[in-house]
Assembly symmetry: C2
Homo-oligomer: 332 residues x 2
């Protein structure tokens, strides 16, 4: 294991300090919990809370700020945060208008976030939740019943966050988040593995010429392993599965996210984007906005995922709304 | 070589299409050259042009936009762009107020950018240039006489770009760029190598427990190879060399950039930032602003660099000015 760390046991606590020191204008850590909370909570609005295991940075702390999250709950590496941590986040950001929890579909996350919701309910805090399950690769997986939540979650943060920032009520914000979830699909490929610091060993291994199609963001198995092909071949496989799953009509507009898992250079992500764009255009689908970069990573895993979000006027407007967070800025 | 590419010969041309398709609101490719030019050239102002070999994305195309670059010239991987390409960039963006070339200190870049300057001079275009040499690791290296230009270049883009956007004259913009260059220092470490697609073989190799201190962004040799230590030990070595080189007094303010080379996760970069922040604070130096992420990469190299920019009021104000580019947004 070759990592820039001190003690494997301290990666979470040290990272949290590093994040707080990097972005004091956006967020601060709660004293009693591994929760990064937006500095400016002055506005009376619905609060959005998300989170999950760490190792996916900039998710989720990088999305705390104006127009996105009010708090990110940060678990140990690839490990769901405990209910009491989520509960602390809810209490810290509720301004009387209620809280929406954006949960990625992993059994541990759902259990812990829902328990926190129950705890907050008893305090009289209105809490609703949505579960993101954008990964079309496989039904049920190592840590999940049903489809996994991956990079599409960032679109849910952005769009639900914009709805909350506009002053919409909790019920409306939840409706919009659910619409985004029903309109977003993703799928990924791994070219290389990753190592959880506390374990010290790679989560899985791939041969020199082998890739895994449909892999999860914790290295959960995908559809199959096969020999690496060209970028265009890999992209075509992912895009076929995504477009087969979601009904997009000619002249529909979409937002695209080409997400790097970590060790795949931006140069290659742009080559991926070229093919994604061609395939969409050849189907008569218009690309409205594109995001290329690292949004939902998996420690040092090599690979990428593609996310397609089908737009309507409401989603489009909210996607375009101003947001200002460490890792996601939309300037109107 | 395990990469998400099609033909190694086409990585540059395909990447340029992918960039253009991803960021049409910011930039477009010149038809006759590998140059990405800002879409909005309506403002009469000094133009800023930078560039170099590709493989360092988001540098330099990611910095084309309001408040930073007017054009990025993109060479083959780790290869200086030819003079005619730079010349096309200059012609495309000059609005009569002149052009500042921001060159990283590599012999090939300097030769080719200076030749382009001479070509533009003959057309009557006012062109000035500055050379960034922020890397304190070594004097003279594989491709360089004197110190290399690395991630500190991004601060030069930002601050000279802001000066130009404010309407300052070429001479003033150049003065400010030179002040930033004299105030900025960087140094990096590699934990893993990278492979130029056309060669197919790693540029260098490191043992399982070995790092290279002071490595360049093309894998040029650093100071020495040694066994990997803790994050804090690695950071301390870089910071000592940086702070020994630049006179920063107590109560001075600095901007910090913790830059990932590619395969080092953001989690680890934040752990680096924690130590950087502690060391500066313990020296009585105030951190005014921090940037943690991938700004000047080196294909899939693992590792990071630290950049420290000493601020004065003029630099601070320009650093804070609004900028809107694909990879660097400052919202006032």
């Amino acid at each position: 294991m070759k990592k820039v760390i001190n003690n494997p046991e301290n990666v979470l606590s040290e990272m949290l300090i590093g994040i707080e020191k990097a972005h004091p204008e956006y967020l601060k850590k709660l004293e009693n919990a591994n929760v990064l909370v937006r500095t400016d909570l002055s506005k009376e609005k619905v609060a959005i809370v998300s989170g999950g295991g760490s190792g996916h940075e900039p998710a989720h702390a990088g999305y705390v700020g104006k127009g996105m999250l009010d708090a990110a709950v940060v678990g140990q590496v690839f490990t769901s945060p405990t209910p009491d941590q989520v509960y602390e986040a809810i209490k810290a950001v509720d301004r009387g208008k209620g809280v929406l929890l954006v949960i990625k579909n992993y059994s541990g996350d759902i259990m812990n976030f829902e328990m926190a919701k129950d705890m907050a309910d008893m305090d009289g805090i209105k809490v609703e939740s949505v579960v993101v399950n954008d990964d079309v690769a496989v039904e049920d997986s190592t840590f999940t019943t049903g489809r996994r939540g991956i990079a599409g979650t960032v679109f849910v943060h952005k769009i639900a966050g914009a709805a909350a920032e506009r002053g919409m009520e909790l019920k409306e914000v939840k409706r919009i988040a659910e619409k985004v979830i029903s309109n977003v699909r993703s799928m990924g490929i791994a070219l290389g593995s990753c190592t959880v610091p506390a374990s010290g060993k790679p989560n899985f291994t791939l041969k020199e010429d082998e890739i895994e199609i449909g892999i999860g963001i914790h290295g959960e198995p995908g559809i199959r392993r096969e020999k690496i092909g060209t970028a265009d071949e890999m992209v075509s496989k992912l895009m076929k599965k995504i477009l087969d799953d979601i009904k997009i009509n000619e002249k529909d507009e979409v937002a695209v996210m080409v997400n790097g898992m970590c060790s795949t250079p931006l140069m290659e992500l742009y080559i991926v984007n070229k093919k994604v764009n061609e395939l969409l255009n050849s189907n008569g689908i218009k690309v409205y906005k594109t995001f290329v970069g690292e949004y939902m990573t998996s420690l040092e895993m090599a690979g990428f995922s593609i996310t397609i979000l089908k737009l309507d006027n409401e989603i489009k407007e909210l996607l375009d709304d101003f947001s200002d967070t460490p890792a996601f800025k939309i300037i109107k």
